[in-house]
Amino acid sequence: MTPLTETGSLGSSGALVAAILIGFAFGWFLERGGLGSAPKLAGQFYVTDLTVFKVMFSALVTAMLGAFWLDRLGVLRLDLVYLPETFVVPQALGGVLFGADFLVAGLCPGTSCVAAAAGRRDGLGVMIGMLIGVWLFNLTFDRIASMYSATPLGAVRLTDLAGVTPGVGVAVVTALALAGFAVANRIERRRA
């Protein structure tokens, strides 16, 4: 039964070793797919390069289906996997700020590390910016704390909100992603 750390099969130092291996594989696939290149990522917003969409949603659907079926098969207890809490307004505003500056920076936090590791100084610049931003957030936290913790919904899934079973939710998201991939491929064929 898994998660291994939750069922006591893996201790904290074992988890740190796993962290490096898992991170290595994550960074490897990000770089292999071209996600360490800022102009390529920015192309998503100009519909000239749809790599970000394709990588992100194929990863999301793969993990979603895997987690759903491993839970069904009794291998993984999905209720023990950490589900982030929802805060509607701060997450919507945070998303707007993040999306706008992903466009300006050309890299997100994870891909900035890949870019920097491959020698791109702009990647290092984004990493330094991230540190500054988090520091500024901490510095002004007293004044923004009420906004930060506004509109809490707790740890909640789309399927809870819609009142449907997890199976229906997984099927709908998979269907939408496949439709999105078809549209993305058609856009690229038209441009070619």
């Binding site: 962290a19 797919g33 990588v55 707007v96 300006v104 590791a117």
Partner: protein, 174 residues
């Protein structure tokens, strides 16, 4: 080093690879991937070094990242994971002949402008990630695959803002 870099792999293949890695994270450690949290951990530790651990831990924004005092990043899963990301990214770029000291940018901007945009954009992105409780990795991917409501709010608002503002930022990426 190769003169001509090898081409990137198919994006769907890269995505499936990342999806399997994310699934492995769920199975092994019961949590998803992340990036911005590691930055928060490093900043908290830096604050503790400058201000002293007691004063730093008095801030409710910093305290959660200091469960083991100043040395907390050395026991933080996300910090190790992100170190792994850099190692993996380096190794992949090296083997593909893509290691290059360079500043990647649109043809319409100089190095200084690009670096300012990277640092400034990175800073505001850091603030955004704090409000969102995660970034593209921790929130969009890891929470999104669990169908977390907040993750999908983040995905929608993030893409919407990017597309709405893209024409205004055209000069950066032309």
């Amino acid at each position: 080093m190769n003169r001509t870099p090898r081409p990137y792999i198919d994006p769907y293949l890269a995505g499936i690879g990342i999806g399997v890695v994310l699934l492995a994270a769920y199975v092994v450690v019961g949590q998803g991937l992340g990036a911005s949290g590691a930055f928060a951990s490093v900043v908290a530790s830096g604050t503790a070094v400058v201000q002293g651990a007691t004063r730093a831990a008095a801030s409710p924004a910093v305290a959660p990242y200091l469960p083991h005092g100043i040395a907390s990043p050395l026991q933080d899963w996300l910090v190790f994971e992100l170190a792994g990301v850099m190692l993996g990214g380096f190794t992949s770029a090296w083997l593909a002949g893509r290691l290059r000291r360079d500043v990647e940018r649109g043809s319409g901007v100089g190095v200084r402008q690009r670096m300012s945009a990277a640092v400034g954009g990175g800073a505001l992105m850091g603030v955004g990630a704090k409000f969102a409780r995660g970034c593209t990795s921790g929130q969009a991917l890891s929470g999104g695959a669990l169908l977390s409501v907040g993750s999908w709010i983040f995905i929608a608002s993030c893409f919407a803002a990017g597309y709405v503002l893209a024409p205004a930022a055209r000069r950066l990426w032309r």
